[in-house]
């Protein structure tokens, strides 16, 4: 606040007023903050700290919690599903990136070239994103049904042999990736599309004058100009897909033969079906550390480049 705007009457007794006003301003500010502070404290900050604490404890909510060192981690490590869970999560993330990263970008480049039906295409590609995920997943469960599902009916229409989809170890994980891509590619596409529309047209004109063909223009202008958003989306998508839960939970239950068990799914199993909450916490802590690395890179990039 500049001196000019302080009323003359106040200026005479400036020192005490200033202090009192500062105190009052702070009290008001914390009054405004208290609702959010309480929610954050109880449901965000405290659980974060508690995640770490519980990983090293044995709690049964009757006796006092007991410190057990790394025992929970050893329990988790010795679980035969531990390695598959991480491998499947990594595979899922990788496959989801291959599909869910490249396809939206190419789609966005094509959509950006089209002059007709733009609103329709944008709307349609975002429709699955608006469905509740449980609806999308259960819909695909029906499509994947080997006997009367849509996919095998389409295959038989082309006289191709039907697939087992979710029931076979070789296709179960990729089936989950397909659902996930179908449900989520809309948001990526629209974000890329928005980024593409900010590319100055002069760049393309200049490149064209220099004799660059269409693919060269895409390679040397489109991609470098959207590099930042591509990088940010890559990180966001890694963080989002590594938490895959609802697809294995609803579609496969981790099976067949642990071929779709994922880290978050295993965490849920420990806590609610195996009755060993602390082991679930230990697993959660590991995932938290891995994801924090990606999140930290993301925050760094976006902070350096926004506002």
């Amino acid at each position: 606040m500049t001196t000019a705007s302080i009323p003359v009457a106040n200026r005479r007794r400036r020192q005490p007023t200033k202090l009192r006003r500062a105190v009052r301003r702070n009290l008001t500010a914390y009054g405004f903050l208290c609702g959010a502070l309480i929610c954050f404290a109880f449901f965000s900050w405290y659980p974060m700290v508690r995640q770490v604490i519980l990983s090293f404890q044995k709690t049964n909510f009757v006796d006092a919690p007991e410190w057990v060192g790394l025992k929970n981690f050893r329990t988790v490590f010795s679980d035969p599903a531990f390695a598959p869970a991480w491998i499947n999560t990594a595979m899922f993330t990788l496959l989801a990136l291959l599909c869910g990263y490249a396809i939206p970008f190419v789609t966005a480049i094509v959509l950006n070239e089209l002059r007709h039906a733009r609103a329709y295409l944008r709307f349609v590609v975002y429709l699955p994103v608006m469905l509740p995920p449980a609806v999308g997943v259960l819909l695909f469960q029906w499509f994947y049904n080997p006997d009367y599902g849509l996919f095998n009916q389409i295959l038989s229409f082309f006289h191709l042999p039907g697939l087992q989809w979710l029931n076979s170890t070789s296709t179960a994980l990729i089936s989950l990736v397909i659902v996930s891509t179908w449900m989520n590619m809309g948001s990526g596409t629209l974000i890329y599309l928005a980024a593409l529309q900010t590319i100055p047209s002069e760049l393309y004109e200049a490149a064209e004058l220099d004799g660059a063909g269409l693919f060269k223009r895409i390679r040397h202008i489109t991609i470098p100009q959207t590099k930042l958003i591509l990088l940010v989306m890559l990180l966001l998508q890694i963080v989002a897909t590594m938490q895959v839960f609802i697809e294995p939970y609803l579609l496969t239950g981790g099976g067949p033969e642990n071929s779709t068990v994922t880290v978050v799914y295993l965490m849920y199993q420990y806590a609610f079906n195996f009755g060993s909450l602390n082991a679930g916490n230990a697993l959660g802590l590991m995932l938290m550390l891995v994801l924090m690395v990606f999140s930290a890179i993301y925050l760094r990039i976006s902070r350096d480049n926004t506002v």
Binding site: R25, S44, E113, R122, W142, W182, M233, I246
Partner: protein, 324 residues
Amino acid sequence: MSAILQPVGTPPPVSPRQEQPGRESRRPRKPINTQFRTAVSPHQLNTTHGRIIYWTVLVVVVVSFTAAFVFPLYWMITGAMKSTEELNSIPPTFLPKHFSLDGYVQAWDLLELGKLLGNTALYAGGAWLLTIAFDVSAAYALSKLRPVLGKVVLALMLSTLMIPPLVIMLPAYLTVKDVPFFHWDLLNTPWAIWLPAAANGFNVFLLKRFFDSIPRELLEAAEIDGASPGRVLWSVVIPISRPILGVVSILTVVNVWRDFVWPLLVLPDSDKMSISIGIASLSSQMPQNVLVASLVIASIPTIVVFFIFQRHIMAGLTAGSLKG
């Protein structure tokens, strides 16, 4: 801020060079509109060859998008009208043999969808109220009142963005089951959804960034007129923040409506379930056509919201991302 206010669909400013009136098409059929320069050269686009390619690509894209994103929904809507025998028949019928809404009626009754939808609306509505009340006033305090340690509080709130909520779901579940100090059990109560929903760092970030852009002079003018901070927030800040409030509101409601894992943990009672959980928990016991009908009904609210608030939703999508 401008990124939020600007709907995603708005084309970038047209460079003056290309605004030659002769080239602008009045009838969309001929020549292809080249108002916005993209990777494809406008000259090539309007050659015969270019036009053939353009129309081919357009048709292929429209057909494949319709097949990939609309056809599954069509299959779902009509699938609910077919009998179980018809659903199992090979080859499948493209149109249901008899037009009947029995599947929908059965789904509504068997799954008690009315109750589930009511529950979900209650959760989403309460979460919206709390989020707006808490996050707006917090962002206002951090942006305009700037208290001592305000930066630390903001940093702590933003730090929650680094840790995805799913990863801390177990300790968060325990907190809800037995809230520290108060020893309340919030399981199976709407508070279990409402309070955690308000702890949303992204909303605080969006709102604070918007409030930061409101000129100080505007607020000072109100202060000189004797308005208290609360009054300034209510009468000055909120009215000019309509766009961002719209974005935050829709994000909150849609997120609560779509959420699966959290309500799965904290609302195990079948009387309290949200729509997604309710359908998922009964899915294996239902005949296929009834299940599919319930999926259709469950997706109607979000699709309707999308129809109405398309612009806000798409603006919210890019609000958090970079401005280039």
